[in-house]
């Protein structure tokens, strides 16, 4: 039996049999879903309206702000002075009031401005809603005062989204598709970033443990140091793969199970805006299916087999390339983990550069930086995911993808060869604080 396999099996089994493995593997997705469920639940539930009293002394709004009735901010027009309104704020009859002084005019020539008072600090979302509705109403009033008829105004507002975005091949680009690609690229790039860190440090800790517990030399007398290192890397890689497989299955199961178990949650989401007989409500109900339709279209246009395939490739490629480096650092460490921390920095740098370039690449998949980052093996696992999410050939050409994969494989051989030599020396070296200069000497010395 191959010794790498025996080592890998031990590394795999000891980790998988731990209680913490089960806890994180099953607990994490459940926690994430519970988190989402709470957010959805809260957003469905929290419909306590924000009541704003409007004192329109200049009679600018003519008794109403706009046609919207169903949204969370309710404007009601009153005729009271500020003192009583302040009192009513305290009594919580209103949440806030908007005071339009008598000298206010829509032409903007007066010095008096609108005043907004609230009892408590107004949340950002509510504030934005109030601001946009009021300024939109004012804008309309201004346009109307410039002799533009209501019909003209409506037709101007109706003439939106006349630009169709398309690429040179004439394929129409749905706006939501770009958005979905962005999200998929970002999430998968970020996941690879996390994987490199979590499983990389797991490898490092394993090596340090072997060295500190002084079992390394016992094992080295039965297997080659390289076999021990590779066995550990493969074993932990298998743990990661299994973990992701379980997460994938769990996510699908939960996604299917939640609507069945909690139907009211989704009914509530759909029922909320429907209030018959109201223009706004009709608008809203029309909008939502549009968005969902767009989202579905966007998702359909994404090449998932390609993305999943690339994810697995770059996950494994990136992991194997970095894991050997982490192992090399672990082999140079002593009882004091602090030593390892300082040696770790040069390895972390390219990973962090990767995530920085990736953030650019999701926006501009064909920029120079993105192309470089997706070809350079130390950053490509993270950056390429951002580009692949935009599809072939929009985000990345087939040639570049193949080149990047080739470079990654070469990079893997390069780092593993280098790290193997450092590891062989480091694992038997005790009680000495090692610098990068020394690691480099170990890596390049003969035999």
């Amino acid at each position: 039996m191959n010794k790498i396999f025996i080592v890998a099996r031990r590394e795999f089994l000891t980790r998988v049999q731990k209680k913490t493995f089960l806890l994180t593997t099953i607990g994490v997705p459940i926690l994430i879903f519970a988190f989402y469920a709470v957010i959805i639940f809260m957003s469905v539930k929290s419909t306590s309206d924000f009541k704003v009293a409007v004192v329109d002394q200049a009679n600018v709004f003519n008794g109403k702000i706009d046609e919207k009735k169903s949204s969370e901010v309710i404007f009601s027009f009153v005729n009271e002075d500020t003192a009583t309104l302040n009192k009513k704020l305290e009594q919580k009859e209103y949440d806030a009031y908007l005071y339009v002084p008598a000298g206010f005019s829509i032409s903007g020539q007066s010095n008096d401005s609108l005043q907004f008072r609230s009892a408590k600090t107004v949340g950002l979302m509510t504030r934005e809603k109030i601001e946009s509705r009021v300024s939109k109403a004012l804008e309309e009033k201004r346009l109307l005062s410039m002799n533009i008829s209501k019909a003209q105004l409506d037709s101007i507002q109706a003439q939106k989204e006349l630009i169709t975005f398309a690429n040179t091949s004439g394929k129409k680009e749905n706006q939501t598709k770009v958005g979905v690609s962005y999200a998929v690229g970002f999430i998968s790039g970020f996941m690879i970033y996390i994987i490199l860190f979590i499983y990389g440090t797991m490898v490092m800790r394993g090596v340090v443990e072997e060295k500190v517990s002084r079992i390394a030399e016992v094992i080295i007398s039965s297997v080659k140091p390289f076999q021990l290192m590779m066995g550990k890397i493969i074993g932990i890689g298998a743990v990661g793969l299994i973990q992701f497989l379980i997460w994938g299955v769990l996510i699908i199961v939960i996604q299917l199970a939640v609507p069945v178990l909690f139907p009211q949650l989704f009914e509530g989401m759909q029922a909320q805006p429907v209030q018959p007989g109201m223009m706004a409500a009709v608008d809203a109900t029309k909008q939502q299916p549009d968005m969902i339709k767009g989202l579905m279209e966007g998702l359909n246009q994404i090449n998932f087999p390609l993305i999943v395939g690339c994810f697995v490739f770059y996950f494994l490629g990136g992991y194997f390339m970095y894991a050997s480096l982490f192992a090399a650092v672990g082999s140079a460490a002593n009882e004091d983990m602090q030593d390892a921390q300082s040696l770790l920095l040069p390895i972390m740098m390219p990973i962090i550069f990767g995530i920085v370039i990736m953030m650019q690449a999701v926006n501009n998949p064909n920029g120079n930086l993105a192309v470089f980052g997706s070809l350079f093996p130390l950053t490509s696992p993270i950056v390429m995911m951002a580009r692949v999410a935009h599809g072939i050939p929009d985000g990345v050409s087939t040639f570049q993808l193949i080149l990047s994969m080739l470079f990654l494989i070469l990079g893997f051989f390069g780092t593993t060869w280098l790290a193997g030599k450092i590891y062989r020396t480091g694992i038997l070296m005790y009680g000495k604080k090692v610098t990068w200069k020394e690691l480099w000497k170990w890596a390049v010395k003969k035999n």
Partner: protein
Amino acid sequence: MSKILELEALRKYYATQKAVDDISFSIEKGSIFGLLGPNGAGKTTLLRMITGIFYPDMGQITFDGKPFDPLNDIRMIGYMPEERGLYKKMKIGEQALYLAQLKGLSKAEAMEKIKYWFKKLEMETWWNKKVEDLSKGMSQKLQFVTTVLHEPKLIILDEPFSGLDPLNANLIKDEIFGLAQRGSTVIFSTHRMEQVEEICDHIVLVNLGKKVLDGSVAEIKQKFKENQFKIRLQEKPANINSDAFSVLQDHSNDLVVKIHEGFRSNDVLMHFLQQGTTIESFHEILPSLNEIFIRIVEGSSALTRSFQKVD
């Protein structure tokens, strides 16, 4: 008897020192061999070359009549390094099984041998315990078992008794004798000389990367003896001085004498017999290995060696 291991002009140089500098010796099959030397003499480097962890820069290792092939011959060697340990969180049974499988044993084979050894050393109840629950002596015993489990032809033990109480040390010592009787060869590395005198057939002393002594324990003692004898007399005669010897110690009726060049022990006896004294006992004083060791090693500290230049 044939040789299990022959080293020929072995060299291993590090950047700052000559760890092993031209060492040759050979070990008989079935013998217990002592590899001695002060700290930093190059013992560990030498052992690492014999176990295939390091490659020698120069020289030849012959294992069981053939050039040493680390990849295959490693199965025939059991090595218990000085810096040793076990996986703390792993169960003892699984750990022994894992280490045996790494040596190339099949699972069934390994299980059978583990059961045999655990029974022999009264460790059967330990199977499901973790190493972190064991005392130092207990884990030492486990370490010994994992070293000899695969019935190696060559067993290398680096300071095997450190941390063992006399009872367990005797237990392990008996096992070492037993293994040697069944045909295994044992290399025993230590700087505890009294253990060496007790156990080893043959020793090699290394210092500063070079071999300084090689021979059987009796031979070496003979070589380093200083012709000193101890003599006990019933009553001291008037004249205890003679041309044949000089008196080193004179303590009531006990004398320690050093025989001069060209004289024999009989000359000492003759001298006293002629004076009519009754001799109660007379025996040669041989130096202990400890004395020999100190005599050779003294003055060549490992510290000066680390500044030695390699040319």
